[in-house]
Symmetry: C2
Subunit: 152 residues, 2 copies
Protein backbone atom coordinates (compact mmCIF):
# COMPACT_ATOMS: atom_id res chain seq x y z
CA UNK A 1 0.00 0.00 0.00
CA UNK A 2 1.39 3.34 -1.01
CA UNK A 3 2.23 5.97 1.59
CA UNK A 4 0.85 9.46 0.95
CA UNK A 5 2.10 12.32 3.10
CA UNK A 6 0.45 15.71 3.14
CA UNK A 7 2.87 18.23 4.64
CA UNK A 8 1.22 21.41 5.93
CA UNK A 9 2.23 24.43 7.98
CA UNK A 10 0.46 24.77 11.33
CA UNK A 11 -2.70 23.09 12.46
CA UNK A 12 -6.37 23.60 11.66
CA UNK A 13 -7.68 25.92 14.33
CA UNK A 14 -11.37 25.79 13.45
CA UNK A 15 -13.12 22.63 14.56
CA UNK A 16 -15.10 22.29 11.32
CA UNK A 17 -11.94 22.15 9.20
CA UNK A 18 -10.42 19.60 11.57
CA UNK A 19 -13.56 17.47 11.30
CA UNK A 20 -13.64 17.70 7.51
CA UNK A 21 -9.99 16.61 7.52
CA UNK A 22 -10.75 13.68 9.83
CA UNK A 23 -13.54 12.54 7.54
CA UNK A 24 -11.18 12.40 4.54
CA UNK A 25 -8.40 10.75 6.56
CA UNK A 26 -10.88 8.04 7.54
CA UNK A 27 -11.99 7.55 3.94
CA UNK A 28 -8.42 7.54 2.59
CA UNK A 29 -7.39 4.67 4.89
CA UNK A 30 -9.04 2.27 2.42
CA UNK A 31 -6.65 3.26 -0.35
CA UNK A 32 -3.31 4.24 1.16
CA UNK A 33 -1.24 4.77 4.26
CA UNK A 34 -2.09 8.41 4.68
CA UNK A 35 -0.32 10.88 6.97
CA UNK A 36 -0.89 14.53 7.70
CA UNK A 37 2.46 16.02 8.73
CA UNK A 38 2.17 19.45 10.31
CA UNK A 39 5.32 21.52 10.65
CA UNK A 40 5.29 24.39 13.13
CA UNK A 41 4.05 27.73 11.87
CA UNK A 42 6.87 30.19 12.45
CA UNK A 43 6.64 33.29 14.57
CA UNK A 44 4.86 36.00 12.60
CA UNK A 45 6.90 38.70 14.32
CA UNK A 46 9.91 37.78 12.17
CA UNK A 47 10.11 39.17 8.64
CA UNK A 48 8.16 37.44 5.88
CA UNK A 49 11.26 36.11 4.02
CA UNK A 50 12.62 34.79 7.32
CA UNK A 51 9.32 33.06 8.13
CA UNK A 52 9.24 31.50 4.66
CA UNK A 53 12.87 30.36 4.99
CA UNK A 54 12.30 28.78 8.41
CA UNK A 55 9.09 27.05 7.38
CA UNK A 56 10.82 25.93 4.19
CA UNK A 57 13.56 24.19 6.17
CA UNK A 58 11.01 22.34 8.28
CA UNK A 59 9.03 21.34 5.18
CA UNK A 60 12.14 20.04 3.36
CA UNK A 61 12.94 17.72 6.27
CA UNK A 62 9.55 16.07 5.73
CA UNK A 63 9.71 15.65 1.94
CA UNK A 64 10.06 11.90 1.42
CA UNK A 65 9.83 10.16 -1.94
CA UNK A 66 8.31 11.87 -4.91
CA UNK A 67 7.22 15.35 -3.83
CA UNK A 68 4.59 17.64 -5.32
CA UNK A 69 3.84 21.17 -4.19
CA UNK A 70 0.34 22.62 -4.28
CA UNK A 71 0.93 26.20 -5.38
CA UNK A 72 -1.15 28.93 -7.03
CA UNK A 73 1.54 29.21 -9.71
CA UNK A 74 1.39 25.51 -10.54
CA UNK A 75 -0.39 23.59 -13.25
CA UNK A 76 -4.13 23.18 -12.74
CA UNK A 77 -5.04 19.55 -13.44
CA UNK A 78 -8.39 17.91 -13.98
CA UNK A 79 -9.19 15.32 -11.32
CA UNK A 80 -8.62 12.60 -13.93
CA UNK A 81 -5.15 13.92 -14.77
CA UNK A 82 -4.31 14.28 -11.08
CA UNK A 83 -5.36 10.64 -10.60
CA UNK A 84 -3.13 9.58 -13.52
CA UNK A 85 -0.22 11.39 -11.94
CA UNK A 86 -0.72 9.57 -8.62
CA UNK A 87 -1.16 6.25 -10.39
CA UNK A 88 2.04 6.71 -12.41
CA UNK A 89 4.12 7.90 -9.48
CA UNK A 90 2.88 5.10 -7.26
CA UNK A 91 4.50 2.66 -9.67
CA UNK A 92 7.84 4.40 -9.27
CA UNK A 93 7.85 5.31 -5.61
CA UNK A 94 6.49 3.81 -2.37
CA UNK A 95 5.91 7.28 -0.92
CA UNK A 96 4.39 10.41 -2.42
CA UNK A 97 4.59 13.67 -0.51
CA UNK A 98 2.29 16.61 -1.20
CA UNK A 99 3.12 19.99 0.29
CA UNK A 100 0.85 22.95 1.07
CA UNK A 101 2.75 26.08 2.06
CA UNK A 102 1.87 28.46 4.86
CA UNK A 103 0.05 31.80 4.66
CA UNK A 104 3.09 33.53 3.18
CA UNK A 105 3.91 30.91 0.55
CA UNK A 106 6.94 28.62 0.36
CA UNK A 107 10.67 29.01 -0.17
CA UNK A 108 12.39 28.56 -3.51
CA UNK A 109 14.13 25.50 -2.02
CA UNK A 110 10.78 23.79 -1.51
CA UNK A 111 9.74 24.67 -5.06
CA UNK A 112 13.03 23.26 -6.35
CA UNK A 113 12.54 20.04 -4.37
CA UNK A 114 9.14 19.42 -5.94
CA UNK A 115 8.82 17.29 -9.05
CA UNK A 116 5.94 19.53 -10.13
CA UNK A 117 3.78 22.38 -8.87
CA UNK A 118 0.05 21.76 -8.95
CA UNK A 119 -2.61 24.43 -8.52
CA UNK A 120 -6.32 24.28 -7.73
CA UNK A 121 -7.12 27.01 -10.22
CA UNK A 122 -6.60 30.74 -10.50
CA UNK A 123 -8.40 31.71 -7.29
CA UNK A 124 -6.56 32.20 -4.01
CA UNK A 125 -7.64 29.81 -1.26
CA UNK A 126 -6.78 30.18 2.43
CA UNK A 127 -4.40 27.41 3.39
CA UNK A 128 -6.92 25.66 5.65
CA UNK A 129 -9.47 25.38 2.83
CA UNK A 130 -6.70 24.47 0.36
CA UNK A 131 -5.89 21.56 2.68
CA UNK A 132 -9.48 20.30 2.53
CA UNK A 133 -9.54 20.65 -1.28
CA UNK A 134 -6.23 18.72 -1.45
CA UNK A 135 -7.64 15.95 0.76
CA UNK A 136 -10.75 15.70 -1.39
CA UNK A 137 -8.73 15.60 -4.62
CA UNK A 138 -6.42 12.88 -3.29
CA UNK A 139 -9.46 10.90 -2.14
CA UNK A 140 -11.14 11.47 -5.52
CA UNK A 141 -7.96 10.37 -7.32
CA UNK A 142 -7.94 7.00 -5.53
CA UNK A 143 -11.60 6.55 -6.36
CA UNK A 144 -10.89 7.31 -10.02
CA UNK A 145 -8.01 4.79 -10.02
CA UNK A 146 -10.22 2.17 -8.33
CA UNK A 147 -13.16 2.95 -10.62
CA UNK A 148 -15.67 3.45 -7.80
CA UNK A 149 -18.93 5.34 -8.22
CA UNK A 150 -17.61 8.40 -6.31
CA UNK A 151 -16.38 10.06 -9.51
CA UNK A 152 -19.12 9.05 -11.92
CA UNK B 1 -26.28 47.12 0.87
CA UNK B 2 -26.21 44.64 -1.99
CA UNK B 3 -28.12 41.38 -1.76
CA UNK B 4 -26.15 38.25 -2.64
CA UNK B 5 -28.05 35.00 -3.07
CA UNK B 6 -26.33 31.64 -3.31
CA UNK B 7 -28.75 29.12 -4.78
CA UNK B 8 -27.85 25.48 -4.10
CA UNK B 9 -29.47 22.09 -4.52
CA UNK B 10 -30.18 20.25 -1.28
CA UNK B 11 -28.74 20.89 2.14
CA UNK B 12 -25.36 20.21 3.72
CA UNK B 13 -25.72 16.88 5.46
CA UNK B 14 -22.37 16.79 7.25
CA UNK B 15 -22.21 19.01 10.31
CA UNK B 16 -18.70 20.25 9.50
CA UNK B 17 -19.79 21.66 6.12
CA UNK B 18 -22.80 23.31 7.74
CA UNK B 19 -20.56 24.90 10.36
CA UNK B 20 -18.06 26.12 7.76
CA UNK B 21 -21.01 27.63 5.88
CA UNK B 22 -22.31 29.33 9.05
CA UNK B 23 -18.91 30.84 9.69
CA UNK B 24 -18.82 32.44 6.23
CA UNK B 25 -22.46 33.59 6.48
CA UNK B 26 -21.58 35.33 9.74
CA UNK B 27 -18.53 36.99 8.20
CA UNK B 28 -20.40 38.03 5.04
CA UNK B 29 -23.06 39.92 7.03
CA UNK B 30 -20.59 42.81 7.33
CA UNK B 31 -20.52 43.32 3.59
CA UNK B 32 -23.87 42.32 2.11
CA UNK B 33 -27.33 40.97 2.70
CA UNK B 34 -26.42 37.35 2.12
CA UNK B 35 -28.86 34.48 1.61
CA UNK B 36 -28.36 30.78 1.06
CA UNK B 37 -31.35 29.52 -0.92
CA UNK B 38 -31.63 25.74 -0.99
CA UNK B 39 -33.94 24.16 -3.54
CA UNK B 40 -35.06 20.60 -2.95
CA UNK B 41 -32.84 17.84 -4.30
CA UNK B 42 -35.00 15.78 -6.64
CA UNK B 43 -35.72 12.12 -6.27
CA UNK B 44 -32.75 10.13 -7.50
CA UNK B 45 -35.00 7.32 -8.68
CA UNK B 46 -36.06 9.43 -11.65
CA UNK B 47 -33.79 9.53 -14.70
CA UNK B 48 -30.82 11.88 -14.65
CA UNK B 49 -32.18 14.24 -17.35
CA UNK B 50 -35.50 14.39 -15.51
CA UNK B 51 -33.75 15.19 -12.21
CA UNK B 52 -31.71 17.92 -13.89
CA UNK B 53 -34.85 19.36 -15.52
CA UNK B 54 -36.80 19.40 -12.26
CA UNK B 55 -33.96 20.91 -10.25
CA UNK B 56 -33.42 23.42 -13.08
CA UNK B 57 -37.00 24.63 -12.81
CA UNK B 58 -36.67 25.15 -9.07
CA UNK B 59 -33.35 26.97 -9.53
CA UNK B 60 -34.75 29.30 -12.20
CA UNK B 61 -37.54 30.42 -9.85
CA UNK B 62 -34.86 31.64 -7.45
CA UNK B 63 -32.64 33.49 -9.94
CA UNK B 64 -33.12 37.17 -9.07
CA UNK B 65 -31.08 40.02 -10.53
CA UNK B 66 -27.80 39.37 -12.22
CA UNK B 67 -27.13 35.62 -12.15
CA UNK B 68 -23.86 33.71 -12.38
CA UNK B 69 -23.49 29.95 -12.48
CA UNK B 70 -20.56 28.16 -10.88
CA UNK B 71 -19.79 25.42 -13.37
CA UNK B 72 -16.78 23.25 -14.21
CA UNK B 73 -17.09 24.40 -17.83
CA UNK B 74 -16.97 28.09 -16.88
CA UNK B 75 -14.18 30.62 -16.85
CA UNK B 76 -11.73 30.25 -13.99
CA UNK B 77 -11.12 33.70 -12.51
CA UNK B 78 -8.47 34.91 -10.12
CA UNK B 79 -9.92 36.14 -6.82
CA UNK B 80 -9.10 39.70 -7.91
CA UNK B 81 -11.01 39.33 -11.16
CA UNK B 82 -13.93 37.71 -9.36
CA UNK B 83 -13.97 40.70 -6.97
CA UNK B 84 -13.97 43.11 -9.95
CA UNK B 85 -16.93 41.27 -11.41
CA UNK B 86 -18.92 41.58 -8.16
CA UNK B 87 -17.93 45.23 -7.81
CA UNK B 88 -19.01 46.04 -11.37
CA UNK B 89 -22.29 44.14 -11.16
CA UNK B 90 -23.17 45.67 -7.81
CA UNK B 91 -23.22 49.06 -9.52
CA UNK B 92 -25.77 47.78 -12.03
CA UNK B 93 -27.97 45.56 -9.90
CA UNK B 94 -29.19 45.48 -6.29
CA UNK B 95 -29.15 41.68 -6.28
CA UNK B 96 -26.60 39.18 -7.53
CA UNK B 97 -27.48 35.49 -7.59
CA UNK B 98 -24.85 32.76 -7.74
CA UNK B 99 -25.95 29.21 -8.55
CA UNK B 100 -24.28 25.90 -7.73
CA UNK B 101 -25.89 22.93 -9.46
CA UNK B 102 -26.64 19.55 -7.93
CA UNK B 103 -24.65 16.32 -8.21
CA UNK B 104 -25.80 15.77 -11.79
CA UNK B 105 -25.14 19.27 -13.07
CA UNK B 106 -27.65 21.86 -14.22
CA UNK B 107 -30.10 22.24 -17.08
CA UNK B 108 -29.36 24.19 -20.26
CA UNK B 109 -32.07 26.66 -19.19
CA UNK B 110 -30.09 27.55 -16.06
CA UNK B 111 -26.93 27.94 -18.14
CA UNK B 112 -28.84 30.21 -20.56
CA UNK B 113 -30.18 32.32 -17.67
CA UNK B 114 -26.68 32.97 -16.33
CA UNK B 115 -24.79 36.08 -17.42
CA UNK B 116 -21.59 34.03 -17.18
CA UNK B 117 -20.32 30.64 -16.05
CA UNK B 118 -17.52 30.69 -13.51
CA UNK B 119 -15.37 27.71 -12.57
CA UNK B 120 -13.07 27.03 -9.64
CA UNK B 121 -10.49 25.36 -11.86
CA UNK B 122 -10.17 22.14 -13.82
CA UNK B 123 -10.69 19.77 -10.88
CA UNK B 124 -14.09 18.32 -10.01
CA UNK B 125 -15.35 19.30 -6.57
CA UNK B 126 -18.29 17.67 -4.78
CA UNK B 127 -21.12 20.19 -4.55
CA UNK B 128 -20.86 20.55 -0.77
CA UNK B 129 -17.18 21.52 -0.96
CA UNK B 130 -17.87 23.70 -4.03
CA UNK B 131 -20.37 25.57 -1.87
CA UNK B 132 -17.73 26.27 0.77
CA UNK B 133 -15.22 27.40 -1.88
CA UNK B 134 -17.91 29.69 -3.34
CA UNK B 135 -18.64 31.17 0.10
CA UNK B 136 -14.94 31.78 0.71
CA UNK B 137 -14.46 33.39 -2.71
CA UNK B 138 -17.46 35.69 -2.23
CA UNK B 139 -16.14 36.62 1.22
CA UNK B 140 -12.65 37.16 -0.22
CA UNK B 141 -14.10 39.32 -3.02
CA UNK B 142 -15.73 41.71 -0.54
CA UNK B 143 -12.48 41.91 1.39
CA UNK B 144 -10.60 42.72 -1.82
CA UNK B 145 -13.16 45.43 -2.68
CA UNK B 146 -12.91 46.85 0.87
CA UNK B 147 -9.12 46.59 0.87
CA UNK B 148 -8.92 44.70 4.17
CA UNK B 149 -5.89 42.66 5.23
CA UNK B 150 -7.66 39.34 4.50
CA UNK B 151 -6.33 39.21 0.94
CA UNK B 152 -2.87 40.67 1.45
Amino acid sequence: MITINLVCVGNLKEKFWAEAQNEYIKRLAKFCKFNIIEVAEQNRTSSVPETIAREGKLILEKCKGCTFLFDLGGKNLSSENFASLIEKESQLSSTITFVIGGSYGVSEQVKARAKALISFGAQTLPHNLARIVALEQIYRAFNIIAGTSYHK
